[in-house]
Subunit: 261 residues, 4 copies
């Protein structure tokens, strides 16, 4: 028996939520999905998440939200993150950080899936070692379930691939997020871990990684900060479908999704 | 009439050259290739290029080599780069840098193709502005041919996508290199420019972006420099085939290649 | 005959302006100052400058303001920078950047002093090469005067010292800014250029480089952005007094100032 | 009663060791020094340290060596660091790193002094949090002595000043190293901790932070790695003398030294 998990790449702003509202149910049917996880760090206007935007995503069927560096963009949501069990943030933030870094969710059929979120350090923040944090947290999670998915939110391909190989055989899947561009390197590593460097992005593709392309270009040309608007055309969902053997926790399949909405 | 260009992602070490020797001719036949360009910055032992490794790649059929930050890893090859017309390096290095940043090559059928190489600045070196360097160089190149391909060797998805949109309609193709992981976002932009964020890598895929995976993991765990060996198993060629209308210089097709060797 | 220039390190917020209002006239008298230049990038609330804060500094006697990366923190002041001849910004920003990167001011006695502003690139923005920009601009400035001061706004000691040595004998002084901590390495290089790695800061020293020390610590502990308040105690002016021979443009003296206010 | 500690800034290559051999005894006499600590990360040829260069420094009177990022430049010295009790390396490297991050030394008169070494993270490596590592280690060290000195090897002034204030009242001194330029901000913080952002460098000052100035300039002009030679002229010792009350562990004085040799 296998459980089929849909993991959706960073949902960017209202166009990202619109894409979800239009196409998610079709993806769920077509791919016989049991559990829907999405990275929501950009769900609210491209920067962070709010109770309302999260609620909208739950209504559309998302079971759990992971996140990353942008989860902190909305100020004063630390109470929200502490309360809200359906959002996790990277585990390797310092002690005292609001929210939680892993959780166990149940599919409607009652299968337990552990979900872990980590953030890379190369060209990002000064966080705790994601490799060692994974070691410690997996020891706990594996007591509860052998089906475990990790969202590794990181910039460089080397840090992502290294953690994928490091955890091969110890988790069901390592899926990368953060670059907003889907990579074509999905595979099942020899130990049974499904891996992809980046799942990509959900929102407007008439854009530079989800934001207005003229403004993105301006930032490079002027070397000054530019306020980014979120364009609304050419909506797509980037995701992966991962099949996991429920007995062994090994991945049996990983398939990329790039769905126009 | 169209010209069909095969652009091959960073060739890493002798396993990368072996992959080329085994499979290139088959790719050329299957895809009716007119011109073969490859990024050779890692061709010699993973770091830089030498006259011998370049000659080996020419023998296998490569017409032109582009490069990037690693082209300088072999010391004392500035004379080589100055002499050798079949290798280009990123144009936006400082005045006085050995070698050249663009060239015009001819296909066997006599069609002229301009090739430009630029390097990104985000999380890389302090080079000249790639956007403005492109503007200036294209003015010259377009006098010679309207078929122009740019290898943009850069780290972040935002810098690559921004330059792609910036040049849309002015070049036939913008292909990204440097991350060694192929992205799944190939498309033809509205103005007629074929675009992909990263073409990927040619060499051993039993690796972290071409180098020994245990050593790559060690570097992250210890935060110390580690000497990288180049593994030899699971050889693949990552590339794109780009079709360009010879009259207009507009791209008519872009197809990803991920060929086991 | 010599001209005596007082160069004041980054003025931070209203405490910095208060320090100037209290002590500047005494420094001018004691050190027989002919010309007063100050880095004003943090003059308004710690971030950027406004017409009002600039006017306040002119009233206290400042003749010219230099700046750096924070000059852009106040939005919509590009018109102000274009108009206002008494503020310069780093010259090596991209073409099209508002404002100017150098100027020639006259002391009350009619001696012309060229002032140039550059920004470093290491761990900062992707700007044009400060070494080459200096070469080009000095060629112009030297036609107008041989007394030239450069404010090099940069992070690392190696980039600052390198530019100092590079320009030794071609400018009267290279004074560093940006780190907000005064260095003790002032000297006159063999070619006659006065040099100091960093002039330091003007404002509250009951702080971490001018901002609330508890908030600064919080940012490191939490790895999250923290809004910074500007404390008001323990006011000091950090500056240097540079004496320049008006015939040769060579520096004859450089003296550090660290004045409690 | 007070103990007087001489802390010497990064000793660079054989010119740095020569400076020590010539002047250290005079400094010790003039300042009535009880304990001599030096940062030795650049003692051997500018990069790392060897058993021989360390032995030479002990012979000249140095009691203990601290270090920083360059301590790892000499390969295969992990056994040396494990064995050698008179060298410490930054404590906040990952578990399993050779060597130790703190120690307790005794002055000839039998006074115990705890010495701790930490490395910054901003623009440096992905290490453990220096603030929290300090908390944990001080709890242990304070059981052995109340006289404690920290060498914080870091790049930015904000990270250094923040840790200084964070530890004010809990250690006798926080001295910064790594930038190789002495700062003029030495003071005793209100809680009794002596503080300086950077002690500076010991070696040739006819240089860019200890290395050949022409080569340093070349690196900026060419954006390529340049092999650095260590110049030999204009030798200086940069250091601080810190007086600590042996009863309370509070600092009673801090004085900068910039001695020509
Ligand atoms: Fe994102
Ligand atoms: Fe992100
Ligand atoms: Fe490469
Ligand atoms: Fe590269
Ligand atoms: Fe500043
Ligand atoms: Fe600044
Ligand atoms: Fe050093
Ligand atoms: Fe260092």
């Amino acid at each position: 028996m296998s459980v089929r998990i849909l993991f959706i790449g960073d949902i960017v702003g209202s166009p990202g939520r619109t894409a979800i509202s239009r196409e998610l149910h079709r993806l769920v049917d077509r791919h016989a999905i049991d559990l829907i996880i999405a990275n929501g760090e950009n769900a609210a206007g491209g920067f962070g998440i709010t109770p309302d935007t999260a609620a909208e995503l739950y209504r559309h069927g998302v079971h759990l939200l992971t996140s990353g560096n942008h989860i902190w963009d909305k100020k004063d949501n630390s109470g929200f993150l502490d309360r809200e069990e359906r959002i996790i943030r990277p585990l390797n933030y310092p002690p005292g950080t609001p929210g939680r870094g892993s959780t166990v969710v149940e599919t409607p059929a009652g299968i337990k899936v552990g979900v872990l979120n980590l953030e890379g350090r190369v060209y990002m923040k000064n966080l705790d070692c994601p490799f060692r944090c994974a070691d410690a947290e997996l020891e706990q999670l594996r007591k509860k379930t052998s089906i475990i998915l990790l969202d590794f939110h990181a910039e460089t391909t080397s840090e992502k691939a290294s953690l994928g190989w490091y955890l091969d055989g110890r988790v069901s899947a390592v899926v990368g997020t953060h670059t907003h561009v889907q990579t074509a390197d999905e595979r099942i590593l020899p130990g049974g871990t499904a891996y992809i460097t980046d799942v990509g992005m959900t929102g407007s593709f008439d854009s530079v990684i989800g934001v207005d392309k003229g403004q993105a270009i301006q930032r490079f040309l002027t070397q000054q900060s530019v306020k980014f608007d979120i364009p609304k055309k050419d909506l797509r969902i980037n995701a992966v479908v991962i099949g996991v053997d429920t007995k062994t926790g090994k991945a049996v399949s990983i398939e990329r999704i790039n769905a126009a909405c």
